[in-house]
């Protein structure tokens, strides 16, 4: 764990493990490696290290008899801050009534996340707008049945835009508080599909646009989020598959660079396996 690595880094410096602004570099290197191995974007790592370097020049570390522990605490605090601090939990908890629009790369967990949000919010309708993947509509339909959510199948299985208009028009009559729209996975560099996304997004005019991100995503995460944001705007990230053992640095990177908050995490395959995102718990995971 990072604490052991930092202990070693500080012990190597001097007999008492007392540190100075100069010999803090080995400790910073350990942090750099830990963050890169946690999939934090290398540009974020650079900026994060200077934040930590600044704080570690303060008395709390320089006068500490357990500099390694103090150091870890600083890193943990700074990570928590970056991840949104306390405000992030409040943001996610708001769960205001409205139309939630899910997007993201292929296989990231969108269809499952749609069912999770429907289950979390209650009183929700699920709309299927993936007209491309075999049995995608069936997948969402089955999940909707399992959680007792209303289900809107595509009215025009060959026309995403007309189907989107139908979803928008029929939702008010369903008397549900929330509408959750599932879309097809797509690459952010696929112009045709990104244009389709822009069009259906405009038609549906959601109150919240959520990108579903796989927690094991590596360095591409920021690029992907920025592309989706540029095309349709993003209000939040749903971080899926956090029950795996990946550190989830991609989420930190997106928050750091784009400011988009992570609001929910997927913790398993069932609709019940969803939680609000907690920055401090996640900071611990990245460092662990």
């Amino acid at each position: 764990a990072l604490t052991e690595r930092l202990n070693r880094a500080f012990r190597d410096l001097s007999g008492y493990g007392k540190i100075t602004p100069e010999n803090i570099e080995p400790a910073l290197r350990e942090i750099k490696l830990a963050l890169l191995e946690a999939d934090v974007h290398f540009k974020v790592v650079k900026e994060f290290l200077s934040l930590v370097r600044e704080r570690s020049n303060g008395k709390e570390v320089l006068d500490s008899i357990t500099p390694a522990q103090q150091f870890v605490k600083i890193v943990h605090d700074e990570l928590t801050k970056v991840l949104g601090g306390e405000s992030a939990v409040a943001e996610a908890a708001s769960n205001t009534a409205g139309i939630y629009f899910l997007c993201g790369l292929q296989g990231s967990g969108k269809t499952t996340a749609a069912a999770k949000l429907a289950h979390l919010f209650g009183n929700a309708a699920l709309a299927a707008l993936d007209l491309q993947r075999p049995a995608a509509v069936e997948q969402l339909k089955v999940l909707a049945e399992r959680i007792g959510a209303k289900f809107i199948p595509p009215q025009f299985p060959n026309d995403a835009r007309r189907s989107a208009a139908h979803i928008r028009d029929i939702f008010p009559s369903l008397e549900c508080k929330h509408l959750i729209v599932d879309t097809a996975g797509r690459l952010q560099i696929d112009d045709e599909l990104m244009n389709e996304l822009k069009d259906v997004h405009e038609i549906i005019n959601p109150s919240e646009t959520v990108m579903v991100l796989d927690a094991m995503t590596g360095q591409e995460a920021v690029k992907v989020a920025e592309a989706f944001r540029a095309r349709i705007g993003l209000n939040s990230i749903f971080l899926s598959k956090t029950d795996g053992d990946s550190k989830g640095g991609a989420a930190l990177s997106i928050r750091f660079i784009t400011g988009i908050p992570i609001k929910w995490i997927g913790t398993g395959e069932t609709p019940q396996a969803v939680e609000q995102f907690h920055p401090d718990r996640f900071a611990g995971r990245i460092l662990g």
Partner: protein, 276 residues
């Protein structure tokens, strides 16, 4: 700097960052830059940037080729089992492989052994219908090992050349799910000894990709890897370390959602894309 057989710090940092950005991870990035330092020294003076990049590409493709590709089997039917974590592209890859071998004139049968996820069987059945390839399935919640067994038995009974069995996505840190997969393999081996086991990885995976290969290789006799979604911007750099450390070859690469979007692995092309 490049002209004196010495890799200067700027060039080294640039290379390292490009590799990290491609998901090789810091350790592999550092090792590759060190390899280039040694190469520069041996190359002496007058090295231009392109030559350095070429040398790096060559080094990477050598690492990728260092894993031995399993020998062709004479078993009839051949059996391929598709495994991996959730959402990587297993079902689509199973269909692509079926299409590929079917086009070669083979008689194929598909096995829908994902008995867990909503509409998983339907998804594979649709592919089977499109390809006119039979899909063996059971009721939802059935034992995946039973479906695998049925599939191999059907392949034997119907004189098929090959059976391709799709399994449910599973995270490698879930011991019960990994045990379930081990049972699938044991049960298949009751009928046929040789099973080609392919681990499907998403090109956008970060450092966890190495853990995935490690864990699946610990549980099962993995034959090789498939890297999907390389039509995206991700470079799958973790593959370099995975192949170097675990000696599993990459056999195929997925480059799209269409049935033809699967190509045999080309180490040079992969390496070139990695450092581009």
């Amino acid at each position: 700097a490049l002209g004196r057989g010495i890799l200067d710090e700027n060039a080294a940092t640039e290379l390292e960052e490009a590799l990290i950005q491609a998901d090789t991870g810091p350790q592999t990035a550092e090792e590759l830059v060190e390899d280039m330092r040694v190469w520069m020294k041996n190359a002496g003076g007058g090295v231009i940037a392109e030559t350095l990049r070429e040398a790096l590409g060559l080094r990477i493709s050598r690492i990728l080729r260092s894993a031995e590709v399993p020998a062709n089997s004479n078993q009839i039917p051949k059996i391929t089992l598709i495994v991996g974590v959730n959402g990587t592209g297993k079902t689509t890859t199973a269909a692509k492989l079926a299409a590929r071998f079917s086009a070669d004139g083979e008689k194929i049968i598909l096995g829908a052994a994902d008995t867990f996820r909503a509409a998983a069987v339907e998804q594979l059945k649709i592919w089977g219908e499109r390809l006119n390839i039979p899909v063996i399935a059971q009721a939802e919640g059935a034992d995946p090992a039973a479906v695998a067994f049925d599939t191999v038995q059907a392949a034997i009974n119907r004189d098929c050349d090959r059976a391709i069995i799709d399994t449910a996505g599973r995270l490698h840190n879930k011991t019960n799910l990994m045990a379930e997969l081990e049972k699938v393999v044991r049960v298949i081996k009751k009928l046929r000894e040789e099973v080609e086991i392919l681990l499907v990885l998403d090109a956008a995976v970060g450092q966890n990709g190495l853990v995935q290969v490690k864990c699946f290789a610990e549980s099962l006799p993995l034959s090789g890897l498939v890297v999907t979604k390389l039509d995206g911007t991700a470079k799958a750099g973790i593959i370099v370390r995975a192949v170097a450390e675990l000696k599993k070859p990459v056999l195929y690469v997925g480059v799209g959602e269409g049935i033809d979007d699967l190509i045999p692995f080309d180490a040079e092309a992969f390496a070139k894309n990695l450092i581009s």
